[in-house]
Amino acid sequence: MKLTLKNISKTYKNGVKALDALSCEITAGMTGLLGPNGAGKSTLMRTLATLQKPDSGDIFFNEIDILKDPLSLRKQLGYLPQEFGVYPKMTAEELLGYFAALKGIPSGKAKDDLIHYVLELTNLYDVRKKYVDGYSGGMKQRFGIAQLLLSGPKLIIVDEPTAGLDPAERNRFLNILREIARTNIIIFSTHIVEDIKDLCNDMAIMNNGRILKHVHPVDCIKELRGKIWTKNINPDRLEEAESAHEVLSSGYNRDDSVNIRVFSEHDPGEGFAIGQPALEDYYFAVLNGNLK
């Protein structure tokens, strides 16, 4: 199971270069796609989901050339967009029936069972007779997962799914994804580092239409070991510190002092203490260009 991207480029009419000769290879498991807003994540996700065509480049999923033969990919694709609506006045059961039909699942008991199964899995069974357009954000998101699961997809594209979910819902949601990811490819875009840390066995950091780093989350913590330094400073001196050091992040403490985390190959002195490296540090370090 392998997804291969070769030299994917996409420039929008307004001149924005969303994808810039992007290449990478993704295998089974859960791949987190991390990047700031505007990095090109959504463009990439939509391209993988066959909603958009790049200007140039090739994408293969196993043997399928997804740009030439999108329909074949769609038979194995599960896609959950960042934001979606539903048809009004359709219950979850009806709407899943509709999607099942779209996915080529013939009517009959097997289909009904499948729908019940995914409803149970996403904990929507009790509200299956309710209109989906009345669902809360989390429920709707789970409904998105439910429809995605219907056809047993091999490639799953999930675009910033956890935004707006409460912690319990998020947890459940991620668990489901994690479970599916054991045998399939899941690409999961987010700008929340937390999501990746817990789940992903693969991670790509993206900015300006390019993948800056494509690593295993555990490896990157290792890579940063001994390079993260931390210190509390007076907020007035933040600018000064930023110009003197590679500041990755900063945050207020309870006493109104500011805790800064700094990337440095060596002890920067000045009272910096060695910090426990976190995924977030890696992310910022990559974005800042600190890691080669």
Partner: protein, 1184 residues
Amino acid sequence: MFLTILKSEIKYWLKNPAYYFYLIIFFLLGAAAMAGAAGAFGEDSSSVKTANSPMGIFSFVMLFGKLMLFLLPVIVGVSVYRDHKSGVYRLLYSFPITKSGYLSAKFLSSFAGVNIIALFFLCGLMLGAALPVVPAGRILPVEISAYAEIYFIFLLPNLLLSGIIVFTVVVLSENIYAGFISVVLLFLLRESASRITVSAETGGLGLLIEPFGEAAVHYFTRNNTIVQNDIISLPLTGTIVLNRVLWLTVSIFLAAFLYRVFSFEGGFFRRLSGRTNNSIEQSSAAGEKIKIYFPEVKSVWGIPDKLKTAWYLSNAEIKYIIKSRSFLIVVIAGIILISTILMQANPQTGTKLLPVTWSILGLPVFFFSMLITVLTFMYAGVLINRAKICRIDSLIDTSPAGDGILLLSKFLALVKMQIILLLVIMASGIGFQIYSGYYRFELIQYIFALFVLHLSGFVIWAFASLFVQNLFRNSYIGLFLLVLAAIGISNLPHAGIEKMIFRFNQNPEPDFFMKLSDLSGYGYSLLPFFVYKAYWFIFGIIIFLLSILFSKRGLTETFTERLTNAALKFRGKIAYVILFLCGGFTAYGYFINAAATGNEEMMFKTGNQESLKSEFTTRYSALKEIKQPRITAVNAKIELYPESNSMYAEGFYTLINRTLYPIDTLLVRTGFDEITAVSFEDEIESLIDDSLFNFYVFKLRKPIAPGDSIKMSFNIKNRQNTLLVKNSNILNNGTYLKSDIFPRIGYIFDGSTIFNHYQGSDADLISLELLTGTSEGQTVIAPGKTIKRWNENNRTYTLNKTDEKVKFVFGIHSGIYEVYKDYHLGSFIEVYYHKPHTNNLKQIVDGIKQSMSYNSDNFGAYPFRVIKVAEFPRSEGSYATTAANIVSISEIRFLTDIRTPVDNNIDISFYVSAHELSHQWWGNQVMPADVPGAHMITESLTEYITARIYEKRYGKQSAERFLSVQMERYLKGRTSETGEEPPLYTVDAERSYISYGKGAVAFYLLSEYIGEERFNRAVKKFFEKYKFGGPPYPVPVDLLGFLENETPDSLKYLISDMFKNVVFYDNRVSETRISSLGGGKYRIDAEFLISKYRETGFKGRSYNDDSGKSTEYTLFSGDVLRSMPLRDYIGLGYIDKDGKLIYLKNYRTDGIYNSVSFVVDSEPVKFIIDPNNLLIETEKNDNM
């Protein structure tokens, strides 16, 4: 803030290319419509109206105003819907803006936008009138004021009303389609209201209810002639003003209502129904461990599976349509529309047709069909854009269902919607039949008409709608274009495109659906109908496949991108199929076009009779004076083949030379529809053989000596029927074959002579022997006595012979008939009717009997031993006629609903049969000469006699009602008069509004004034002098002479006014005082003005009598009234407080001003002049 919104709104539209598109379209439409009406694209002979008269402009504005209505949701509706869709709505809440500021800025800016389009349209009209290609005759100098008047009094208020309705609906429902639906409903309201108007004699409520004021204007111009319409500006009568004020008030109230209930929080209907927008919350169980195993469910992608999938998906789509409130409202409105139409009585007679299946399948379905078509246009857009609007598109676009499946599901949903609507029609139709107590349900007839014939047309529209909506991806533009296309396609012939192969989804026979008959079904038209439907169905599939190529998936693409994508997709199977279908479509089109072209010569001949006739005259006028023998006997054998719609006839004429000279040259004309061969016993030489005019000239070797006769033999067969055209009048059942298939002798006679009777230039009276063969099971009804009837070779033969001579004008019927027999005054009455049509037999026979009695009592005996009445299908016409001893009556007269009370209506079946039988005296026994005014002797006199028969049967009041219908017919008929209106005694055959309408009124008036007995005595003398007479035949002044002899001098003015001139009264009551004298006595003092004028020349008015005298009267106001000199009798009467009409006296006036006073015994409410409605006057409302 108001200004900010206003500005941004205007900016939005100015930046929107669609807006410019609308501007240009309406501008061009205006220009093209005006130029077209003025004859820029060739002569439109149907009207000689001035194109840019106020009425002309008005009708354009009304017609295209309807199209403009569809701009309202697009522009006015969208202005608020945009905010709603983007959620800006809720943000506005936090801005410092008032409701009124927001609503008025939105409405005013968008409404101004619509009005600019309307003004562009008016400019287009003006330009169209000024184009150099426009011939001068149909254009008046442009008057800006006329445009302004129509804009400010009609177009602007109508747009305002509709605009506010649409705005309100969209704001409150937060649904743009509800806006479209409200436009459709406005349409329906207009249609039903104008239908109510038509039926009401006095105008009444319908004129007010009709929201656009169009019905009112038509009502008040109904008695204007074309010329008056050309010069007179629009009438602004009280009712029209009231209508305008009423609907303007409604608009204002609606606006106020909207202001009251509007809230930035939205959700008016949710608040109304108490539902809240709260979403369902569910406590989520926290992260338990999950084990996922997938049930083995395999996706299947075979062709049958895909079809099943499409079917399944279409169910979800159709459920969505049905569940929407708008759809429900449309269905209800449609049912109301159908019922309103069905409830309508015949406006002229007040009678209703039985609710037979074809009557429900006619007009009601026609209107409902428009609704189905518009809904197809609209829901195609809804279904195409729904996923995007619901933002579920990314889920659907990434599903493995192909574009074909998705599109097919939408197509199927549209067809299902159409089927549901057709079921609604069927249910309403049957419901109405049950309600009316009519229980002959013809389910097969319904199903075939609705679900085969109509549906096939709708399905083709569904293809086209999906294609357009899929291409444009904008419901509003798509809907607008489709409506525009539908109107445009139906008007293609006006733009010179007449070939059916270019007229998308049109029926080769325009009134195909209106000709369905119980006797003959759809007849031969069914085949061409399917031939063309199949043709357009192929086209539909082609555009459906193209739609698949142009389907859009994923992110917005530019049109070029979609084009490239479509080109990329154009390969493999789908490409071959498209190419194959295109080839097939072209070949098929070529083939049917060739089949239709074979007939063009015929079409040309029937379509250009006038020019052909003049061509004939220039070519052969030298032959005009050649004396010809007369036909005195016709012997023929006619074979009818109902199954193959064909016939064959052979036989011979006996021609006698009644001139004083030998005749050696014979001129023969044969029918255009038939292939005819003629032969003679003696040798002949062919001098002229002109197949264009079917005109032949033979030279006889042996001339016919004076008093001598020869035989002329002939055989006739109809031209071969083709795939698309039937070339004979033979029907599968109910054939009504007329004697015009036979060859005729002589030059086309076109003048007037007293030596021919009005229905024959080559024969006086003939003896007739006919042997007619038809399919076994059918009965032949032919003129004369039935001598013998037998079966031979599975065919039925009937031999008929006349015992009295008849005119050479007759018809032969053949069909499966039941017969009803009766006997009256020594004659047998036989009615041949279609088995289920028993409803009116009694009245028809009654009419025959009463007519026989009245005519024999007053004039002379019925000449034959038998009178046969035969029913013929409505596809052949809705008239009735008499020839020899047969009265032929259309199917529809057998289907009058007799349960409607006769006091308020005309018993039309009785009337028709009484009228036709009277022709046995007036037309068959007395034959007027072939001169102008012949119809005064045949039709006018017959209508008068029918009125008297009617009076005997149903009483004076009914007869007066009958006469007021005739009066209305006259006054209405003359409104479309394009030439000089002739007086009654020179009326021609075409002007039936004079010969029937005015004729009945004139004779009845004279008869009332001099007395029925005296009148009939004069007529009897006339009858006795001329019955069964040969040439010279009587002329109108002969009849008037007899009448003059019986008319006292004081009333002779009537003969001059009513028969020899075109005279109108203009009477009015100027003052009435009613006082009680006590003891139940009352006194009426009334003043009234009488004036009478004569129409002279072309619509001129003269107050001079023959000697050039006139009279004058100066009103108190200083105005001078003029009149022809008056020594006239005017009936006076009053209405008492019980609503009873009481006749006072026939008052002789000798001047314009009159003052009378009466003492009466009951309390008067109104004083009336001419209470019996005998005098001809265009405006009667001021007579009381």
